[in-house]
Amino acid sequence: MKGAVIRLLLLMGLLAVISRAQVLRADAGTPVTLAAGALLLCGLFAGKVAKGLGLPRLTGYLLVGVAVGPYALGFIPNAGVKGLELVKGLAVSLIALVAGTELRLGLIRRVGARVAILCAGVCGLTFLACFGATFAVKPLLPFMASMTVPQALAVSALVSTVVVSFSPTVTIAIVQETSARGTFTEFLMALVIIGDLFVMVAFALAAGVTKASFGGGLDVTGLLGSVGWELFGSVAVGCVLAMVVLVYMRGVKRELPLFLVGLSFAAAEGGARLHLSPLLVSLAAGALIANLDEKAGERIHHAIQQAGLPVFALFFAAAGAGLKLDALVTVGPVAMLLVALRGVAIWFSCKRLAPADDPRLKEYLWMGLISQAGVTFGLAALVSRTFPTFGPQVEVLIVAMITAHELVGPVLTRRALAASGEVRADEAAGTA
């Protein structure tokens, strides 16, 4: 670990020199490639340091991203971090592809109904708690203070829907890192994935209602159509991608990691343009591949382990660098209140509603549900774009919550997996 610390400090020293040297130039060039290289290297060595301290590597990636990013030491400019959006989409797709290969038909039959019921309970209770709190603190939130009661109710519902969301990305990355295998891990992964499907549907409905409350009119057909397209269209496109992957794996048999990176990138970019969910597209593709050809699923798993480390390190370090620390100051108290309420609601609902046949679920499951990352970021950005009058302020509130959740979530998820006794290795080679 000492070596990793020295290397990390040297890297940060070089970054400091580069950021100072930039002052010599009147106008800077593009900072995106610098951000990519710096975050990748810093992320990797910070991950090693974190592992040495008994923390998830992912926490190291996030923290170093925060440290060198524009809101702390400022070695990497904001434009550089923003330019890495492409990598974010790619990482989410790759992670979802791996997650999909875990979704075997047998597993869905075994735990599908129980997970769906528990998920509905957890999401419902968390939503109610956050909805009530958001509406109650209306006078404290500048963007809600002047709204009418129906408008405030609709916006509270919208905010709470986003606040409920989980992070399949973090969960799957930690599962990969620890090589965790077993019923608890399966249950947790299925729960975060299904939870996000619930959130996607609920978000579309809440957005439609909010639009109507601000005078846009409630277009039920359009609303159902867009939700249906996002869900079923994503699954259909995912099935097509699965066929492409299988044909490639049978015909070409070379450079699979590179091919999967390219395909995931296409899924992320193309999916976003077609108003599909890139997460669901890749998830469906992975699931279909694993269920049609088990060996192909295992090969994909192995290939992404090879190609995944740089993508994951960069993704989480960039996520850390994008966390707006100043947002914590402006909307901090309300954000912290919602963080605490969300945590308590998840803990309470898991304690009450988790299946009794496995006591670990009642005891530790809640810890795996605290993280928030890519999906929540995406929904917050969508609120900002869809509702320009108050959306940007909602985004600040949610990003402040994500900041808190990103810092504690991965540690809790790892602790949950460790406590469940399903962690197989200290570290899986080449993963997050």
Binding site: L24, G29, L34, A36, L40, L44
Partner: protein, 405 residues
């Protein structure tokens, strides 16, 4: 979206290039262009803003980080190939021969083209000299891929093939040296400042190379090594792009430093980079093609001069090189004809020049070199046939001795 379009285009072109549709027997020129990657260049031109417009100028600006990354990677790969032990072993006549043929082509192109550039651009003599120097630098470069293919297929003596390849590799140093000179003259209004920027690029490369050597020193895991290598390449290319200095020169300095101090990890780093070399090259070539202004008639007017003068320079330079090299290196007769193919580094030079020297002149240089490179690649096939003779019988031991000499 533009990145997705580039990715899909390159994937489709890769499929086309590796399919039977481009049978070398039926379409030799197209197959040659596909093998050298120049087919991607042509498709880039066709998709770019000045022809089909599928990618706009704004899209290309958004893809600048990718160009910087590819230039940095190319530089590091070039730098890693500088093996100090091998360079020390080479006798002086080999250097003289390399300098002779590269220098002749440089002078044949750069000197006559100064006047038309100066007259048509209306810019300062300093800028015109810089642009002409860069055209000369691009002309001085040669690719040894025909020679390598010929000796591998048994159509040329191995020693002769390696001799040609060695000379073309030494050209790269001339090309990079002239790029540095052109940037000194063109990247800033003052020569002193331009020199400072080139030195900054080299210093940055040396620092990144030393750091990369230290970072990779104790890494055992292949995935980690690949990650650090990719991160190091992005760091050097990105830092150079951020400070608006040459990513290519910084990359070369980084690779050379790594080769010098990296010890045993150098080979592993080179192998890790080798996996992304071809994709990075194809992306770069495609994007360079997209940047061509196909409707600049002034550039089209310069192309015949560029190609013709370079051809002449290479043929005469080849003769001079043969005379200078003496018995130190086995070379084929009519060496100049083996040096007509221009290679990808010429495109890297003009891409770098275009990024760092603003204005229409650097754009015109890019247009001339890109079109010239395609024409030279087409010319190189028939020209190389002039070099091939009946293979000589030589024992492998003797061949190796000759190469080592």
């Amino acid at each position: 979206m533009q990145a997705l379009l580039v990715l899909l285009s390159i994937a489709a072109l890769s499929l086309l290039a590796s399919s039977r549709a481009l049978d070398p027997g039926r379409f030799p020129a197209l197959a040659r262009l596909a093998a050298s990657g120049f087919l991607f260049l042509i498709f880039g031109v066709l998709m770019g803003p000045s022809v089909a417009g599928l990618l706009s100028t704004r899209n290309l600006d958004g893809l600048r980080p990718v160009v910087a990354l590819c230039l940095g990677a190319s530089g590091v790969i070039l730098g890693l190939n500088l093996e100090p032990r091998l360079l020390r072993l080479l006798p002086r006549p080999v250097y003289s021969a390399a300098l002779a043929h590269a220098g002749t082509a440089f002078l044949f192109v750069a000197v006559p083209l100064v006047a038309p550039i100066l007259l048509t651009s209306g810019l300062s003599p300093q800028a015109a000299v810089g642009a002409a120097a860069l055209l000369g630098a691009a002309a001085s470069l040669s690719s040894g891929h025909f020679a390598v293919l010929a000796y591998r297929s048994g159509r040329m003596d191995r020693a002769r093939g390696l001799g040609v390849a060695l000379l073309t590799m030494l050209d790269d140093a001339v090309g990079l040296g002239v790029l540095a000179l052109a940037l000194v003259l063109g990247a800033s209004t003052q020569v002193g400042e331009g020199l400072g920027l080139v030195c900054l690029a080299l210093l940055l490369g040396v620092m990144c190379g030393a750091l990369l050597a230290f970072l990779t020193h104790s890494l055992k895991d292949l995935a980690e090594l690949t990650t650090v290598t990719l991160g190091g390449v992005a760091l050097v290319g990105g830092a150079a792009a951020y400070l608006r200095v040459s990513a290519l020169l910084a990359g070369v300095a980084c690779g050379a430093t790594l080769a010098l101090v990296g010890g045993r990890t150098v080979e592993r780093v080179a192998r890790a980079l080798g996996r992304v070399e071809r994709p990075a090259f194809l992306v770069l070539v495609f994007l360079v093609g997209c940047g061509v202004h196909a409707r600049d008639w002034g550039a089209w007017a310069l192309v015949p001069g560029f190609v013709g003068l370079r051809f002449l320079g290479k043929v005469l330079g080849g003769k001079l090189a043969q005379r200078l090299v003496g018995s130190a290196l086995e070379l084929p007769p009519r060496l100049g004809y083996a040096l007509i193919a221009q290679g990808g580094l010429a495109l890297c030079l003009v891409a770098e020049y275009g990024m760092l020297v603003p204005g229409g002149l650097s754009q015109r240089v890019l247009d001339v070199v890109v079109v010239g490179a395609v024409l030279n690649e087409l010319l190189a096939g028939p020209a190389f046939r002039q070099v091939l003779g009946p293979p000589r019988a030589a024992t492998p031991a003797r061949q190796d001795l000759e190469v080592a000499a």
